[in-house]
Subunit: 521 residues, 2 copies
């Protein structure tokens, strides 16, 4: 035993007997839980990786990986070489199953301190964040490979390849397995389960999702706090109505971010305020100066920039939320897809009383299922559930039961692995195509998700001409400027390129078409 | 040809070559359409039944039935023995497929002329109208036969028989046929159909429902005006938000009626005003004096009284709506179940530009499917669809495709016939049990739906004692007073008795238990 602090380090690895491949995850979960529960208090210095590895009888690499992962998530902090300490971002979690969080003191409601609603109208971008895509109301269009009508230049030419972000490859939907699960569900569901649903969702699904999210996303997921909803869009609307009823006027959104969030919140009477972002996350000072008391963020894989928020910015955001007695909506729209390392744990795990966590199956299975989930702070739970009830009485039960079956029996994990392999391959194909056909293009945000940011050098032409030429060639591309207030300044073309829904050959063909089009004169 | 007016009567039966059993329906549909289109103008005298039957080569009974049906629905009016004329309730319908109605002149919006919101708070009844049932948030409770927790006296004794209205027999859900349709759907749906849905609903379902509703309910159902939603509760919330955004403050609801409507509209910022009802429908003068510009009604089978609105009151309601430039929400919650004659056609057919028609599969299949529909006036359509989009982006696609398959291939009609037979039998069992065990009880509202109104004579004890004794015996009964502002005056016990979800033996046992309990002293 290394003797750092009073922590019983050997308690950190209850699953010491577990298979080797599970030990790393077990250590990470145990460390997170120890920080959350207060057993490891802020400022406690952790043993060196060498010492802890020896104490626990595991490899040093496994401990190093755990420290790095939890540092990235904000549970720990480290000074290069000087050591690792317990951070102060995490807050004690509520007891599972009681449905109430710790008392937060008197909560001011309805004081309307936010900035004027709608003070800054979001742009009319087409960015699908959180499974939200602006539609023209004309029904599902086009094929899986080439979709038309959504791009800024749609109509100029037949769209042959559409690099819009946010749609998964719908041909990966596991039809046979889903069909089998449907049959099993209809054979076993009781008659009363077909009646008016629990507005919070089917109990068996809430149990299954809570387990899956705890395991995969590092959240604090009490089934009593989990509300099944129709996706992140509905989660935004539900929360918007609740916050509006409490007197808030506006919600902050990331800049760059998703203008669609603005439309969703506007439908609840809330304005939106763009909050500037740098390569680490939201800038703390503009956030504090904005006057808002709620913000929507995508810290695991920021949309559209692709960054993962730094641990410091995660902690700063939570400090802000506590200081203004506010809330954070964590839109974990594609948190499951991470290619070069383990997914970064969700922000919600650090403070489940301040963070509303929302996710869905829109990227992993199909947007058409309209099935998602929220983890709701105890203080907001009753209001969110009542909103869900008056909005639709609860989600349809059959798909809920099928998803529960799918999660419980491992089908969901298999599906995620399958998508992950496919999307990683397409990302690699995209990078290769850009390198070959548009050399000099710099790509970022490539470690996760279903899209990248590409910065094409100015020598391929000014942005307007570049996009027009691509559209003429039948390739729909979206400039980063559609997703926020920034305007191009250096002549480079900055693009948000979604690749997940395209076959590898379509990805290559699309980039080649662009290169040929912009090369002409 | 009889020579009454200029109408080409022979055109009224385009399906003259149809099988005999379809001719009556074809005649009714042709007559409705002729009135709506203006080909038969108000005041036109119709031929005698004998003359028209001879002209068309059909039986006189078939013509008499058609005249009676359309008179009940408000398309025709008749003076006992003196003749039958075209009424003036119906308004010309819009051209199918253009998505816009005739111009109604300048429409004042947002003037906020309604009465103060929430001026009369609805009671806290448990009435399930339109598939809405207040829940305690504790998940699906009880078995199909006996459900607990909803009655006013729940908790006094274990509930053995719960006569709550509004839930169908969930054991009648066609699991095998639904499962077959699910498999077929997953085999044939295109990949893009699994993507983000059209917020208005799957085109194939909107086509199928429009055809089914035109045929079964006499509505004007253009697929372009049909919005798939999660049920009548969501239809109410969607319309509530749209009307609130237009400046309305309150909506009128029938008294007696469903207090749940009050809760749904309250969630959209609208108050509700009770509007008194007699045995023919809403009283015109209090309606005019109320100041509201929108009302929710159940004219086909009023909830809970069970009456069918008279043709005069249907016409008066539409006159009112036109005069105040307002809208009517027709909650057709159980319009398909009618036992002693054909269902009365929906009000919407008389004026599709003033009536929002809403229905669902909650009574015919299962509430857990959360699947319903709205027919929306052209003037409101865009706003309703945008609300639907921000609320949930549209209904889940798989269940929509399955229902389309079900409707198109005749499974839905078969299911309705099956339910109709079962519920009619249970109604008859209930009437027999009341006659045997509580003689003197008068029953009304028995020609339709899933519940009756029973008036138990005062000799069985004062209402409070009666209900308490029943609850002690494990039988949950709901007094009519839960559904409006009326208070008992004559000592009789007035009950809303739902029977559809109970087996015939449970119905008999429940009434016997009540009789035994109230007979003790």
């Amino acid at each position: 035993m290394s003797g750092h602090g009073q922590a019983a380090w050997e308690l950190l690895l209850p699953a010491a007997g577990a298979p080797a491949r599970r030990r790393g995850r077990a250590l990470q979960e145990a460390l997170r839980e120890a920080v959350r529960s207060g057993r490891l208090t802020a400022g406690t210095r952790l043993p060196s990786t060498r010492a802890l590895a020896a104490d626990l009888g595991v490899s040093r690499g496994l401990v190093t990986e755990a420290y790095e992962q939890l540092t990235a998530e904000g549970y720990l902090r480290s000074d290069r070489g000087a050591g690792t300490w317990v951070g102060d971002a995490a807050r004690a979690t509520h007891a599972r199953g009681d449905g109430r969080g710790p008392v937060h003191g008197a909560r001011a409601r309805g004081d309307g301190r936010g900035p004027a609603a709608g003070a800054r109208a979001p742009g009319d971008g087409h960015g699908p964040v959180a499974g939200v895509r602006a539609r023209d109301g004309s029904g599902p269009g086009g094929g899986a490979r080439a979709r038309g009508g959504a791009g800024p230049d749609a109509g100029r030419a037949e769209i042959r390849v559409d690099f819009h972000p946010g749609t998964p490859d719908l041909s990966l939907f596991p039809r046979a397995a889903w069909s089998t699960a449907q049959r099993a569900v209809l054979a076993r569901l009781t008659h009363p389960a077909l009646g008016y649903p629990d507005p919070r969702g089917l109990p068996e699904l809430r149990e299954a999702l809570a387990g899956m999210l705890t395991r995969r996303r590092g959240v604090v997921a009490d089934p009593e706090r989990l509300v099944v909803c129709s996706g992140v869009a509905q989660a935004s609307t539900l929360l918007g109505f609740v916050l509006r009823a409490r007197g808030l006027d506006a919600v902050g959104i990331e800049d760059p971010g998703s203008p669609e969030h603005g439309r969703l919140f506007a439908s609840t009477g809330l304005g939106t305020v763009w909050l500037p972002l740098d390569e680490e996350g939201l800038l703390p000072e503009p956030l504090a100066a904005s006057g808002v008391r709620a913000a929507v963020v995508t810290p695991s894989h920021q949309f559209p920039s692709g960054i993962s928020w730094s641990a410091e910015r995660r902690a700063a955001l939570l400090d802000w939320a506590r200081a203004v007695d506010g809330y954070v909506l964590e839109d974990d729209y594609d948190g499951d897809f991470r290619y070069d390392r383990a997914p970064v744990g969700a922000l919600q795990g650090l403070d489940p009383e301040r963070v509303v966590y929302a996710g869905s199956v829109s990227k992993s299975l199909a947007p058409g299922l309209r099935l998602g989930w929220m983890l709701v702070p105890g203080d907001l739970l009753g209001e969110v559930v009542e909103r869900k009830r008056t909005m639709d009485l609860g989600n349809p039960v059959l798909d809920q039961a099928v998803l529960a079956e799918f999660v419980t029996r491992g089908g969901y994990d298999r599906q995620l692995r399958r998508c992950q392999r496919a999307y990683r391959e397409r990302r690699d194909v995209l990078l290769a195509a850009l390198a070959e056909h548009l050399p000099g293009t710099r790509v970022s945000g490539i470690a996760a998700g279903l899209h990248v940011i590409a910065r094409v050098p100015g020598r391929y032409g000014p942005p307007e001409r570049f996009l027009a030429r691509a559209a003429e060639a039948g390739v729909a591309l979206r400039p980063l400027e559609e997703y926020g207030t920034a305007r191009p300044g250096d002549g480079d073309v900055r693009l948000v390129i979604g690749y997940a829904h395209l076959s590898p050959s379509a990805v290559t063909a699309g980039i080649r078409l662009v290169a040929e089009a912009v090369g002409r004169d």
